[in-house]
Symmetry: C2
Subunit: 245 residues, 2 copies
């Protein structure tokens, strides 16, 4: 059977995250049901990683085996016809048999959007975290790159994570910028622990509030204590932008 | 009691339209419940007009009497604190006692957004009508201004409308343009009949498909027959942009 690579976007608001679970509507479960319908036999779609409930994707990647001989370029149309509007398959291509969306990934890029004005337009409220309260954005901008490099991120892993292996990860780029009424945090790394991006954002928010200084970041990365980091930022501001191979 | 004028935006997706109805979640019902909570006595909010289920607003206007002496500029914050994220009060100001959001309105502007690319991003699917099929957009652009002027629009009123009075309306401006992947129809008039904007859009889509010629518009406006016009376009592409006084 051939191996296909699928790139997809989704609005995570109404899904219990990526990973298939009994009696829950999930992105993986929804995709697999439709691939199984197309193929006439059970299909498993491996994602590049899980996204939590409410987290969105502009460029999630999944790999799957397909028996159906339909040309790869016809798969998006066939799937989008059957999928709800909240999930769109953007692209499908043939891959080598050993390609795996998770194991083959070299890096992932996430973006977190914080709305800074008092009134958040109703059309954005599913896609940003409204935070109209005072923040020292200069301190946050200074603190953001301090997460770059290879660190043990165990102080930034969320409770409930299934991390039996190393918590060392490499962050290639970690930057905060203003874009109109939004504060945008973008991070690219070789992998992320459970809730790590939302915990980094929570920590940056603590820097913005003056509860942490930018210099406290290196202490935090050495502390290995979850309690040193900020609270987990809400899911709705987070987007998986891209997975690189 | 003083009279206040409120400007608000809402995502109409999950509301059964503007108008309060028993056992239904409506925009008017939601606003009135919160105004009543703030005032401690029943408050009625008169809208500039009804919007249908699924129709959005960037600048709906409502008028209401308030006993509570709180300064007008504090009302948006008090209301937004209690309202769901899908409704935001943008502005509240004092008005003359005889001001009425519907009767005092001079004109209204609506916009309808048609998504023209094959794949509609999940984050836009609640706010556009995806129509990736061939359309002669030049013919549609030519046809759009033919609705301008004072006409009897009875051929464009939706079934189920409560139109006991005149069906004559004046359209000041009716224009179609391309904006990136969207085809945008904007119309400004002194008033609109039930489903009239969506029926104009349906008629323009019929022009785009070649089922009607631009010249057929004047015939249609004289025919006074609903069956001559196109089907009602879906609610989700429609926005009430502004009400002028």
């Amino acid at each position: 059977m051939r191996k296909l690579k699928m790139t997809l976007a989704y609005d995570g608001t109404e899904y219990c995250g990526w990973q298939i679970q009994p009696d829950q509507i999930t992105v993986q479960g929804t995709l697999q049901a439709i691939l199984t319908e197309i193929d006439g036999a059970p299909v498993i779609a491996h994602g590049s990683g899980r996204t939590d409930a409410g987290v969105h994707a502009l460029g999630q990647v999944a790999s799957f085996k397909l028996g159906n001989p339909m040309p790869a370029e016809n798969v998006p149309r066939a799937m989008n016809h059957l999928l709800p509007d909240s999930i769109r398959v953007l692209h499908v291509e043939e891959e080598a048999p050993d390609f795996h969306a998770s194991w083959s990934a070299v890096s992932k890029t996430y973006e977190y959007r914080i709305w800074r004005e008092e009134i958040c337009p109703p059309f954005l409220s599913r896609y940003v975290y409204p935070h109209p309260y005072p923040l020292n954005e200069d301190s946050m901008r200074q603190a953001a790159p301090l997460f770059e490099g290879t660190h043990d991120f165990c102080s930034l892993v969320g409770a409930g994570g299934d991390e039996k292996q190393t918590t060392v990860r490499t962050i290639f780029s970690s930057q905060l910028r203003r874009d109109g009424d939004c504060l945008i945090y973008r991070v690219c790394g070789d992998g992320f622990l459970y809730r790590m991006v939302r915990n980094i954002v929570g920590t940056l928010l603590d820097v913005g509030r003056g509860n942490l200084k930018p210099d406290d970041i290196s202490h935090l990365l050495k502390s290995n204590q979850r309690s040193e980091a900020g609270a987990t930022a809400p899911a709705r501001g987070l987007f998986l932008l891209e997975v690189e191979y």
